[in-house]
Symmetry: C2
Subunit: 209 residues, 2 copies
């Protein structure tokens, strides 16, 4: 599948939402869905659904709709989710522990396989079957498990170091939960998840009430 | 400040990013910044910065730029962050605990003031000074603290019940971390934070490597 052209990141986010709806529809035995069904379930316009899908080719049958399972499988392939992904978590604190217990990863093929921490008291602990290893084991574990994705779950003061260590170990996709920007080379994929910013989408609107 | 016209939610997200950069610039003693400075620091185009700000009026001086502190204060006001917001967390599990310890909330004025759980063993526990109360205390605590924001940090199977309870207690802005959609009335502000979807922005691009 050619993905050399630039797809807006908002489209990727919506494809992710569409795929969850399609999975759900398929599970309920709904064979065919329209762009309007998808739109209503995910809070966008039908035109947006069609535009997002058009980046990747022709789908569905005019006047009939899309086959739920086929479109689901196709979107999962676009998103790189037709396989499973081992994930490393840096930081065996509360957030690292919560991520290991989070049920939403496995159902999308993400498998947290190791947690890393510098605190000797935490080494060997298990969070939902995921073992905590010393940071010094990162490079070897990344190699053994072929890990390409890592999550920064350390305090702000250690976030850059965590990123640097992951990159040295050849992890090239990083999610940063620490409330600080980390700086990486442009060939590294980095996404910061700012939990406070999520609340700000609400306060903006609440202020008007 | 009139916010009756519809602002795209992506603009709100970017204003949040701009404000963090402006705060940082002001802390560093940088008095004036250009739209290009803001754009470079936040990964958007200067035209986008100007367009986002134009929703709210005229800012800055042509050829000079914006006063960092003034623009910061103005954006914080737009976002409803010129005050502090008490926040309730439903669920005293790993995620609830991690949220109470998360340092990024306080610096934006979010103050988790109570956690609620049904598990009698958890009642009275403290996560970083935040006490765990029984669900039955929710309504009273919301009233006492004037809480308008709540976070769902329970497993998927209890998420809808958590939302229903918050709404009954008159919380009208909800962040849902559970990996499931909850259904609420249209007068309730709801935002789902899907942690797996964050990883999917990366896998889409990694697949191409």
């Amino acid at each position: 599948m050619s993905k050399k052209f630039k797809i807006p990141s908002a489209t990727i986010g919506r494809l992710s939402m569409y795929s969850r709806y399609l999975k759900d529809a398929d599970n309920k035995g709904i064979v065919t869905v329209s762009s309007r069904n998808i739109a209503e379930a995910t809070g966008v316009t039908p035109a947006q659904v069609r535009k997002d899908l058009a980046y990747f080719g022709e789908f569905g049958t005019r006047g009939v709709g899309y086959n739920s399972r086929e479109l689901y499988n196709y979107i999962m392939k676009i998103l790189g989710l037709d396989r499973s992904w081992p994930v490393a978590v840096i930081g065996a604190g509360n957030l690292g522990r919560a991520l290991c217990h989070y049920k939403g990863f496995a159902e999308r093929g993400f498998n947290i396989c190791c947690v890393f921490d510098n605190d000797p008291n935490k080494i060997g602990e298990k969070f939902a079957d995921v073992e905590v290893f010393p940071m010094s084991a990162l490079e070897e574990k990344v190699k053994v498990h072929n890990i390409k994705l890592g999550i920064i779950a350390v305090p702000a003061s250690s976030a850059q170091e965590a990123a640097d260590n992951m990159i040295k170990a050849r992890i090239n996709g990083i999610i940063n939960f620490a409330p600080i920007n980390v700086i990486v080379n442009e060939n590294i994929l980095l996404r910061r998840v700012d939990l406070a910013a999520q609340l700000e989408y609400l306060t903006y609107s609440l202020e008007d009430n």
